[in-house]
Every structure is written in structure tokens, then in C-alpha cells.
């Protein structure tokens, strides 16, 4: 059985936010909702200072905290390793958003137009975007990255992987030891974020240095 996972090479990443915006194009997320984002971490004292861009998304944990706290069963672990939210079952209690140690979950009480902040779309594209968002994720519920299910089903890469100018992202089957992701994790000593939480994340990071 396939277990989808992603490897992000911090040596290649420049923190350009292409992933953040590619996700918006693909999933029509409204203002304030970022399924993909980039944070910057700085350590050290001038002049020996290290700054690292770290792209974040849902880690699709094998042991997801969000799933454990979900009172309705809307959050599900899929057989292919993805963690999903069924918007029909979600009641928007946001326990999951609190439980997720990676801050990967977003809540939007309502759809809003990017330009006007109104519920009324300001353009034909905003109208299209609103329709898609309500179909895919809906208002008043929690949403997050689903590893671009609709693209992966068609044999494509997730939108963030596809767009990345530095080609820092690799998507594939973690259960296949020969897959590119498995090989990268092995050869480059891929790390999960906060392994101490025991979440067994499906997103791995390759060290920059």
C-alpha cells in the first residue's frame, strides 16, 4: 500500500513563498487561510547568525493528534497515509487546530473576497474561487492541506511541488524503499519536525548544512 509523503530540501529552499501561493491557486483558500506557508527561524548572534526558511504544511502524521481529538470523526486517516477532513462531518469546534503541533489547520468562518473583504465576489474569478472553496472545504469548518488529492489522483504532483522554483520538494511513496522520497530520506538523513511528539510525520526535511 502506498503511503504518500513529502521531502523538503532545506538546502535548496530560499523561502520564496511560491508554495504558499501555488496552494492558493489550487485550493482557492480565502484570506488568512494558508495550507502551505513559510516561516523563518533565526539563531545565533551577529555576525554568526543562521537564518533558515522552513516551509510548513500538514505533516500527514501516522499518529495524528488532530484525529484523536476530533469529536465527530471528520478528521480521518486515509489508507494512503493522508489525513483528511470531511467538511460535511466537521462542526468547526477547532479542537484539532489546537491539538496539531504544527499549526497546520485553518478555520475560516466564512468566505471573504480578497479585495473587498465582502462575502460578495468582486470578479468572475472570485466567484469561481468562492464556488470551488465552498465545494471543496466549506465555510465554518476546519481545512488543511490534503496533499492535492485531486491532482495526485490524476498522476500529477501536488501544486506546491509542481511550482517550487528551487525544486526543493519531492513527493512520493514512503512505503516504497526505492522511491525518490525514501532514498532522499536515507541518503540525506531526512528529519521529521518534532519527532519527540511521536506523530510520525509524513513530511521530512533534508538539512541545509
Amino acid at each position: 500500500m502506498v503511503r504518500w509523503g513529502m521531502v523538503i530540501d532545506l538546502k535548496r529552499c530560499t523561502g520564496c513563498h511560491s508554495c504558499s501561493v501555488a496552494c492558493k491557486v489550487e485550493h482557492h483558500t480565502p484570506p488568512g487561510v494558508f495550507w502551505a506557508k513559510v516561516v523563518r527561524i533565526e539563531s545565533g548572534k551577529y555576525p554568526t547568525v543562521i537564518r533558515q526558511a522552513v516551509p510548513l504544511l500538514c505533516m500527514h502524521c501516522r499518529e495524528p493528534e488532530c484525529e484523536k481529538v476530533c469529536p465527530t470523526g471528520a478528521t480521518k486517516k486515509q489508507p494512503d497515509g493522508r489525513v483528511t477532513v470531511d467538511s460535511d462531518e466537521c462542526v468547526g469546534c477547532r479542537y484539532c487546530a489546537v491539538a496539531c503541533p504544527y499549526g497546520a489547520r485553518c478555520f475560516a468562518p466564512d468566505w471573504k473576497d480578497y479585495f473587498t473583504g465582502d462575502k460578495k465576489p468582486s470578479s468572475p474569478y472570485a466567484e469561481y474561487s468562492k464556488k470551488k472553496w465552498l465545494e471543496e472545504s466549506d465555510k465554518g469548518v476546519v481545512s488543511k492541506c490534503d496533499f492535492c488529492e485531486e491532482r495526485v489522483e490524476q498522476g500529477k504532483q501536488p501544486a506546491c511541488v509542481n511550482a517550487c522554483p528551487c525544486e526543493a520538494r519531492t513527493f512520493g511513496d514512503l512505503d516504497d524503499p526505492e522511491s525518490e522520497v525514501s532514498q532522499l530520506i536515507k541518503k540525506r538523513r531526512g528529519m521529521q519536525l518534532h519527532p519527540e511528539y511521536g506523530t510520525d510525520a509524513s513530511v521530512y526535511y533534508l538539512p541545509a548544512r
Partner: protein, 867 residues
């Protein structure tokens, strides 16, 4: 799905745009295209938000408030296109009758091909010499392009990412998400770092490139040349790490210079002489007898003691000891020594590599500069000093070295042999670019105009891309003295926000923009420029709604290809949907205006001249177009493409495929080894050209127009005005940087880019060192003022970081908008340009580019002065 070229920056990646039921709903890269490899950045992805922005200009607008000025409400009134065209025709017609030179044309560098047809060709047809790059404005690279042109026949240089092992970046971001061939370079730079290329970044702050580099060297702003000249001195004098063969045959290093500083020339042929070591006599540099020549020594030429120019350089550099440089630039002498030594060793002088059966010099080091290192008073010599490192070790346009953008040699599209151009030597053997986006080549220097004809006096100098002299306080006095008989009359602007991007907005408004009788602006938003200064605003089509002839040619200019071997690509821009509302592509308006003004034939002639210079060849529109045929841009594109690629590859082919690609050749990419051209380690011609310009200035009673002592042959470090600021109250050096999330000011109105900028700690803030912040009692997020010694101020929120020198503050460019027409951009970030001046003291005397660093004091908002 429509294939076109992204227009969100000048990287011009090929994109597939998805249209459903007439609505643009998606955008992706095209993996098959060498322009992007299918990758796409945040800006490109945000195109959709630009297309559908409700703040876009949709109708022609006329100013009803006769008062102009920053912060003045223009009182826009919607008018019809018919009214707008009648008004434009009458204003331009009057100007044409009075004195066509009164027309000032302005264009954005983000769209070089559009700019060519919209602005440059129209300017020529109209008969005005006046043009400036108002969109790029102070970001534009006078010094950078001048030096790129002289040494590489190109706009700039970039590491040969495939083979380079050690790159030094001086205030530039190549391969880190912004600028020329942005996404291609991002992938190539990532590949290079993964391969093990060492990147060393000299920059006052921990930029993106510095944070991903092996080493960040925090250098004081504007002092790169001091560091580089010390490194050059070390390479020559201490480490003996210079490529003698390269200097002998690829530079003017052996040319003999007389005590007057000029070449000693052969009496018969007039070309410079060298000392033939074998026959022990002087000979023309290009004599076949010269099998070896002297780089050092002193030689008697008809009783005059002459010295090879390389020897002069070497002697000259001796004063740039690393210890001396360290005092100027704030980098330790030991660091300069270590990096210079590594650079010399890594250059592997004498080694070769075989690529595609061709044996070439292998020099895997590159000294790379761009915007940061050229934003200074001394920018021409700063850039020369940085590029000189490559030319000492022979790492210019050979595998592993610093490669020209472009490259500037194309041996022809294989199907037709056309689209062909190369470099060539002038009679002194020096490199001449043949494929160049502007009429004046970087070398040889054109004859200066006596008296100058342009309002910015550019034509009495020998090099500048453009100048901002027309906005100096004493411009009227200068125009009178130089007997310029006309004054600013009408301006036509394409996609610029001059108020935000040229320099100090108040100075520009008062000294320049207020002087125009009529300003028409084609733009997609009503920016600060339109609100402050425009009389008529025309709703331009954005890049998704219009055509462009080619986004990747001319290759050496603003647009360029990815570096190294790979593929050439001719890509067009085409409308993915019809222009919405009453938006019109500016080119359609310009062609109609040309007809209305009776300039049709002159426009065609100007287009012929530009197309052939930029794209090579000898196309003549007149031979193809029926004399009675109304000008139509699509028709012109079809003619250009068929002429270049054959009858089956006209516009229809490109509309279907978006682009055409073919393989690059070793002889093109690594052109230097295949072309008998030299570059100057001693800029002898600048002495001669500078004297000519000076003589004109003296003749018209302006002997001190600029500091003529900088018009010399050898590189110097000269301080910026901020380096000599005496008042200790102004204790912080403020400089701007360009965020990869934005292209000038245009993208600040994009809500997606705005949102990621808000999530980013740097784009909208003033970066201040932790220790400095503690000393001044400033906390994260505090609202502070930066104030210069003339009382100009800028306000912003502080981001405290250890990633900046304690004596510097960094601000991302082009933020801090206030126009009503850009509500998303309004009040976001800090407006740096308030702090800088447009005057002689802040103008490079050689390249005429602007110095844009400034000393400031910092204090908290609310009068709580703690600085």
C-alpha cells in the same frame, strides 16, 4: 489552455494559463520550456489577482483638478476613448509642431519588448531624444549595465552554475527568486549548491542569498570596491594568482601606455602597440609577429618611456592593502586575504575542460555583482572593480566562470540561419556588443553632442543608460547654459510609477514633473504617479491581455535566458482573454496615434531599426507592408517571426505553441574563447571620452558639472556622501533591498503577495540589529522614524534581527504606498525614497547613476527621540 510568457517580472517564464467559460482560473509553468522548467514563483502565480483586481483602470480618466502634486486629489472623470484619442492627438500634434523634443517618453524595464514598440520606436518616430526608465528608476543599473556591456557585451553577469565551484556575490541575489531569468536561475543555483558550489555573500544584511550561502560577510554599504581592489592587489602581488595568457590575449594588459595616460599607437595603422618579447621591439597589438608580449616593464618607444597597462594596474593597486580596505569596508584583513587566496586557488589557472569535443579554459570561480553594489556614488568603478577579479583570473565567459547574461552570441536559428548576431572587436581590439537593446552601445563611446540635446544631458556623456539630471535643482540653469531651446512639454509614460521609483518624490515632482504641460500615462492602476502628475490616464491591458514580440530576445538585455548550455527559446506573450472593460494594449493606441499624427512611415522605420539591432538580421517592414495598409501589431509580429523562423512559423505558430526552442552551442555560451576580442584592464578610452564631455561642459560655462577626476583609466574606491557624514547623530546607514516577493512597486497591490509579505518578517519592516535596538530602547514592532540630515523622514515598524550590521538599517524597496488607486498596497511597508536625494552629490560622475544610501537617525514615533 493558452501558452504565454509570464509578465510579473522580467524573468518571463513560460506559463500555461487555464481559461474556463471565459474566466482565467489557473496558471502553471511549462516543464518543456527552458524558461522556467515548469516552475513558477509566487509573483507569477499571483497573476490571476492582478487580472481581476477591482482597482484596475478600466476606462480613460481625465484630471479635473488643475492642481497637481503629491497627495492632491486628481478628481478623475471618466471619458470615452474617442475623447481620449482626440485629446492625445491634439496635445502631441501641438508638441510635434512646436518642438518634438518637448516630448518625454518613459517606460518600465519589466516589459522590454513592449517598451521597445510602445515607447522607444514611438520616440524615434516622433523625433524626440528624451527617454528615461521611470519604472525601474533608481533600481536601474547605470554602473552595472555599463560595466556588463564593456566587459561581457551584456547587461550583467551570472555564475556558470553548472561548473562554478566558488561564487562571490556582491549585493546581488542571482538565483534566489528575483530578477533576470529568475526561476531558471533559482533551480540552477539550487542545483549548484547541492553539487557543492561555495557561495560567499558580501552584503550589509543577511539577505536570502546570504542566509543560504556558505559564508556571509557583513560589509558596509558602498564599500565593495575597496574590498575587491584589495583582493585584486593580493591576487597580483601576494598570491601571484592571475591568468597571464588571458591578460595577454584577452585584455589590453600588454598595450603600451605613454606618460600622458594614453596608448602609444602605431603610426601607420593607428592601433595600440605592445612589446614583442621575442623580437624585442614594439609592434601593433594585432600583428601576427607577436607570439608573446610583455605585461610588465618599461619600454622605449621613439624616446618615450611606455608601460604595459597591466603594469600600471598592478602599481596602482598596491595602495589597496587589505588592512587599508578593512578600515573602509568593515571586513577584517584576514577575511579578505582568505577569500582572495581561495578565489585564486579555486580558479585553477591553466586548467582546461572538454565540453562537446571543445577544449576550453576551466575557471570555476565567479565574482558577481548587481543592484546592491552599484547603488553608490562610485558605481561605475565599484562594478568595474568587482568584475575585474574575473578578468584577472581569466574566469570570464569560460566554463565555471562569470558568464554574460544572454549570452551575446547567437549563431542563428538552425532552421533559417537567421536571428544571428555575435560580438566583434573595434580597431583597438576591444569587445563591441552587437546585440543591444539601446541605440547607444556600451562601447565604443559615441561622440558626445555639442551642445547636448537631451534634457537629462545624457548625450553629452559617453555611457549612461539615462540620467536624472533633468530633476536636479539647477536644471533650468543648466538648460539655459547649454542652450537647450525647448522645455518639458508632453510626457507619455508606459507602466511606470515615477513618484515611487525614481528617487525623492518631492524633488522629482517639483523640479521635473510639474514642468510638463500635459502628461499621459498608460497603466493598470492609478498609482501615486497618476494621482500626483498625470492629466490623462489610459487603461492599459495587462500582460495576460496583450501581445509581445518576444520575451527572451534580445538576450543580453533585461530579459535573458538561463545561464549555460541548454536551449534557446523565442517565446511570445499573447492574450489569454480579450482585454476586459475598455482596457486597450498601449501598442494599439501608439500605432493609431502614429497614423493620426502622420508618423506611420517613421514608426515603421524606427521599428525596422530596433528589430534589426535587437533581433539581428535585415528585416524591412516597408518591403512587406502595403503602403496603404493600416498599422496592426499582430501583422507586424507575424512579419518579424516569419522573417526569423520561416514562412511556416508566423504568429499563428506561436499562438498555438507559445514558443520555439533549439539547442545552444558551446561556441555561443562560452563565446569568449571563440572570439578575438579583448577587454580593458586599463580604461584608456574613458580618459579620452571624459575629456570630450568635459570640454563641452567648460565651453558652456558649467566646468564643474560632475567631478571629472573620476573619468580616469584605473579603478578607485571613492566614498559615498554618507561615508563622510560628520554629524554623529546620524549614526545608521540606511539602504534598500529588493524583496523576491515583489517587482518594483506594481506587485504591492496584489493581495496574495501582500498577504505573504505580511507573513514575512522583512518585507514591510525596518530591519535593525538587536544590539543597536537594545541601545536605543527600541522593541520589536515599534513604530519609528528614520530621518536624514536634511530633515526628510520615513516611518515604519522595526524588525529586530541579528542578520544585519549594527550600523545599518535595511528597508525593502517600493513599499509604503498612499494612492487611493492601490488600496491593497496603501500603508504597507516603508517608503525608502523619501530619504534620498536627486542631485549632483548623489550622482555617479561616470555612469550618472544614482547614489541611494543615506545616513539616518532613528527615533520612536511620538517624538520620543532616543537616537
Amino acid at each position: 489552455m493558452v501558452t504565454t510568457s509570464c509578465g510579473m517580472c522580467y524573468g518571463t517564464c513560460t506559463v500555461n494559463v487555464r481559461v474556463e467559460d471565459g474566466v482565467v482560473v489557473g496558471i502553471e509553468g511549462v516543464p518543456d520550456s527552458p524558461q522556467g522548467y515548469g516552475n513558477i514563483c509566487a509573483k507569477g502565480l499571483s497573476s490571476l489577482m492582478m487580472l481581476y483586481d477591482p482597482s484596475r483602470l478600466n476606462y480613460p480618466l481625465l484630471r479635473t483638478n488643475p492642481e497637481k502634486g503629491i497627495g492632491v486629489d486628481p478628481g478623475w472623470k471618466r471619458i470615452s476613448w474617442n475623447e481620449a484619442m482626440d485629446l492625445l492627438t491634439s496635445k502631441l500634434g501641438e508638441c510635434l509642431k512646436k518642438d518634438p523634443r518637448g516630448l518625454y517618453t518613459v517606460g518600465s524595464p519589466t516589459f522590454p519588448a513592449e517598451r521597445a514598440f510602445n515607447v522607444l520606436c514611438f520616440r524615434k518616430a516622433f523625433g524626440t531624444p528624451n527617454y528615461y526608465t521611470g519604472g525601474g528608476g533608481l533600481h536601474c543599473g547605470n554602473g552595472a549595465h555599463m560595466i556588463g556591456g564593456i566587459y561581457h557585451a551584456s547587461w550583467s553577469v551570472i555564475p556558470d552554475f553548472k561548473y562554478c565551484n566558488m561564487a562571490i556575490y556582491w549585493g546581488c541575489s542571482k538565483g534566489h527568486g528575483a530578477g533576470h531569468a529568475a526561476n531558471v536561475a533559482a533551480k540552477q543555483a539550487a542545483d549548484a549548491k547541492a553539487r557543492g558550489m561555495r557561495l560567499i555573500v558580501f552584503d550589509p544584511f543577511l539577505s536570502t542569498q546570504a542566509s543560504t550561502a556558505e559564508e556571509w560577510v557583513p560589509i558596509k554599504a558602498g564599500t565593495d570596491a575597496a574590498a575587491a581592489l584589495a583582493m585584486a592587489n593580493l591576487l597580483l602581488s601576494e598570491y601571484s594568482a592571475y591568468d597571464k595568457e588571458y591578460i595577454k590575449w584577452k585584455t589590453n594588459g600588454p598595450y603600451l601606455v605613454a606618460p600622458d595616460g594614453l596608448y602609444r599607437r602605431d603610426k601607420k595603422s593607428g592601433v595600440p602597440l605592445v612589446w614583442n618579447i621575442i623580437d624585442k621591439k614594439v609592434e601593433p597589438f594585432n600583428s601576427e609577429n607577436v607570439k608573446d608580449c610583455a605585461l610588465e616593464g618599461e619600454f622605449d618607444v621613439d624616446g618615450t618611456k611606455c608601460t604595459p597597462s597591466f603594469q600600471l594596474l598592478r602599481n596602482h593597486l598596491k595602495k589597496y592593502t587589505p588592512e587599508h580596505a578593512s578600515e573602509i569596508c568593515g571586513v577584517s584583513a584576514s577575511t579578505l586575504r582568505r577569500i582572495a587566496k581561495d578565489f585564486g586557488e579555486e580558479a585553477r589557472i591553466g586548467s582546461t575542460i572538454s565540453i562537446d569535443g571543445k577544449t576550453l579554459p576551466y575557471r570555476p570561480v565567479a565574482s558577481i555583482y548587481f543592484r546592491g553594489s552599484q547603488g553608490h556614488y562610485n558605481q561605475a568603478w565599484d562594478c568595474m572593480s568587482l568584475v575585474l577579479l574575473n578578468h584577472l583570473v581569466g574566469s570570464a565567459d569560460v566554463p565555471g566562470g562569470a558568464l554574460a547574461f544572454g549570452p551575446p552570441v547567437h549563431l542563428g536559428y538552425p532552421g533559417t540561419g537567421r536571428l544571428k548576431y555575435s560580438v566583434e572587436p573595434d580597431k583597438d581590439g576591444l569587445l563591441v556588443a552587437k546585440n543591444w537593446p539601446y541605440a547607444h552601445l556600451p562601447y565604443p563611446p559615441p561622440e558626445p553632442k555639442d551642445p547636448p540635446e537631451r534634457l537629462d544631458l545624457q548625450d553629452m556623456f559617453y555611457i549612461p543608460t539615462y540620467t536624472t539630471i533633468m530633476a536636479w535643482d539647477n536644471n533650468e540653469e543648466l538648460w539655459q547654459k547649454f542652450k537647450i531651446p525647448y522645455r518639458p512639454d508632453v510626457m507619455i509614460s508606459f507602466a511606470t510609477n515615477q513618484i515611487m521609483s525614481v528617487g525623492n518624490p518631492k524633488t522629482l515632482m517639483k523640479n521635473f514633473l510639474q514642468k510638463f504641460g500635459f502628461i499621459a500615462s498608460f497603466n493598470i492602476y492609478s498609482t501615486e504617479f497618476e494621482e500626483s502628475a498625470a492629466d490623462l490616464v489610459l487603461p492599459d491591458a495587462c500582460y495576460l491581455e496583450r501581445y509581445s514580440s518576444a520575451t527572451t530576445f534580445p538576450t543580453v538585455g533585461v530579459s535573458c535566458h538561463g545561464t549555460g548550455l541548454g536551449e534557446w527559446i523565442w517565446a511570445i506573450r499573447q492574450p489569454v482573454i480579450k482585454p476586459m472593460y475598455e482596457r486597450r494594449p498601449m501598442i494599439d493606441v501608439i500605432l493609431e496615434l502614429s497614423e493620426r499624427l502622420g508618423l506611420r512611415d517613421r514608426y515603421i522605420e524606427a521599428a525596422r531599426e530596433w528589430v534589426n539591432r535587437a533581433y539581428g538580421g535585415d528585416l524591412d517592414f516597408k518591403k512587406v507592408l502595403d503602403p496603404k495598409e493600416k498599422l496592426n501589431f499582430e501583422r507586424m509580429l507575424d512579419i518579424i517571426m516569419k522573417d526569423r523562423f520561416g514562412p511556416d512559423k508566423g504568429l499563428d505558430y506561436f499562438k498555438e505553441h507559445g514558443y520555439l526552442k533549439w539547442d545552444k552551442r558551446v561556441e555561443e555560451v562560452y563565446w569568449r574563447a571563440f572570439n578575438d576580442v579583448r577587454v580593458p584592464v586599463y580604461l584608456e578610452w574613458i580618459i579620452r571620452a571624459g575629456r570630450k564631455s568635459r570640454a563641452i561642459a567648460e565651453k558652456y560655462g558649467v566646468p564643474d558639472l560632475v567631478d571629472w577626476s573620476a573619468h580616469n583609466a584605473l579603478p578607485e574606491w571613492r566614498p559615498c556622501p554618507t561615508h563622510t557624514e560628520k554629524n554623529p547623530e546620524y549614526d545608521l546607514e540606511a539602504f534598500y533591498w529588493r524583496s523576491a516577493l515583489h517587482t518594483y512597486s506594481m506587485t504591492m497591490q496584489n493581495p496574495w503577495l501582500n498577504e505573504v509579505s505580511q507573513n514575512d518578517p522583512y518585507t514591510y519592516t525596518i530591519q535593525l540589529n538587536t544590539e543597536t535596538a537594545n541601545r536605543k530602547g527600541v522593541k520589536e514592532g515599534d513604530l519609528v522614524w528614520l530621518e536624514n540630515s536634511k530633515g526628510s523622514k520615513a516611518k515604519g515598524r522595526v524588525h529586530i534581527t541579528d542578520g544585519i550590521r549594527p550600523d545599518h538599517v535595511a528597508i525593502a524597496a517600493n513599499a509604503g504606498h498612499w494612492s487611493k488607486g492601490m488600496p491593497i498596497a496603501k500603508d504597507k511597508g516603508v517608503f525608502f525614497n523619501e530619504l534620498i536625494e536627486i542631485d549632483k552629490e548623489h550622482t555617479c560622475p561616470v555612469s550618472l547613476g544614482q547614489d541611494i544610501c543615506v545616513k539616518v537617525k532613528l527615533y520612536k514615533d511620538g517624538g520620543d527621540r532616543s537616537g
